[in-house]
């Protein structure tokens, strides 16, 4: 397995893992508040829709010429990665509240318990819709990452293997504990995913634009190191700035 392939599996695993943890929180809240039948029906329906998206888009992506594909995928991953990285840096530096799976679960649960009951075909509509929308939205991100990463690296099955491993792990632990996975280091994982997406985005955008990397594929490691370096530097600078702001505000009050 090449360095690129290893990064591919790791990136798909981490990105999918984060999304699956968030989907699990919503399915659990829907199941506990509205009944497991409607929650699992929503989960199943969303999985079917996602499977159709993969079946339609997967083969279509493999027929696009690699350079054009890398240009489009690289640009999309770069925009996507910078969004993840911006949020992760804002969280790590204290400008944005940390992602709290327990708090999200409590909020979803309270909303679901307070909603009126409307049954269609023996299924509670609120529970079904909540689980369906949650799984579909989180799942779409997984599908996007697996298909774009996999097709640009030339191996959708490898990216899919990373995502399936994350699914098995999250679903297994979720079924065992029947609680949101608050102990998963989600904020760190999101930071890592942002770094990975940005790294691949830079690498493939440059190749797709027709430029050559010095050292060819080995440059990927250099890009990764560079992205890590400037991301940590930004966290450090902004954290210091935030502390100074808070100290000044404390002195003034």
């Amino acid at each position: 397995m090449s360095t690129g392939d290893a990064f591919l599996v790791l990136s798909a695993f981490l990105a999918s893992g984060v999304e699956f943890v968030e989907a699990l929180t919503i399915v659990l809240a829907a199941g506990l508040a509205r009944g497991w039948r409607s929650s699992l029906a929503g989960l199943g329906a969303a999985t079917l829709v996602l499977a159709v998206v993969v079946i339609v888009l997967g083969p279509a992506l493999t027929v696009i010429p690699l350079q054009g594909l890398r240009l489009v995928v690289g640009a999309l991953l770069l925009v996507f990665g910078l969004q993840w990285l911006r949020k992760a840096i804002l969280r790590a530096s204290g400008y944005k509240a940390l992602h709290d799976e327990d708090a999200i679960f409590a909020r979803e649960l309270a909303d679901a318990q307070g909603a009126a009951r409307l049954e269609r075909a023996g299924v509670d509509w609120y529970g079904f819709t909540l689980a369906f929308k949650g799984v579909l939205l989180e799942g779409l991100e997984v599908v996007f990452i697996v298909l774009t990463f996999g097709s640009a690296q030339g191996s959708i099955p490898l990216a899919a293997a990373g995502a399936v491993a994350a699914l098995v792990l999250v679903a297994g632990v979720g079924i065992a504990v029947r609680a949101p996975l608050a102990r998963v280091p989600e904020n760190s994982m999101k930071f890592a995913v942002g770094v990975m997406l940005t790294t691949f985005g830079i690498f493939w955008s440059v190749e797709g634009a027709g430029a050559d990397w010095p050292g060819s594929d080995a440059a990927l490691l250099g890009v990764l190191g560079f992205v890590l370096l400037f991301s940590f530097a930004l966290v450090r600078v902004l954290r210091r700035e935030r502390r100074t702001q808070l100290r000044t505000a404390e002195v003034q009050t």
């Binding site: 925009v79 969004q83 911006r86 940005t198 955008s205 430029a211 930004l234 902004l238």
Partner: protein, 66 residues
């Protein structure tokens, strides 16, 4: 029309996200990279230079809006 607008808003939010400036700067940097490469000039360095600057700008915009 409302459904079409909602569909458009979903994809805009999904792909472009909170800060359209990031997408615009990334697109501009890739276009310049492609132009330099087409002219036979080494252009691999441009995106690694543009990306940290774009991120810094986007972070400042996010902090200003909080």
């Amino acid at each position: 029309m409302t459904r079409l607008a909602a569909f458009g808003r979903f994809w805009w939010g999904f792909v472009i996200g909170d800060d359209w400036v990031v997408a615009a700067l990334v697109a501009a940097a890739i276009a310049v990279t492609a132009a330099l490469a087409a002219a036979g000039i080494a252009a691999w360095w441009l995106l690694p230079l543009a990306v940290p600057l774009t991120l810094w700008l986007s972070l400042r915009r996010a902090i200003r809006s909080t």
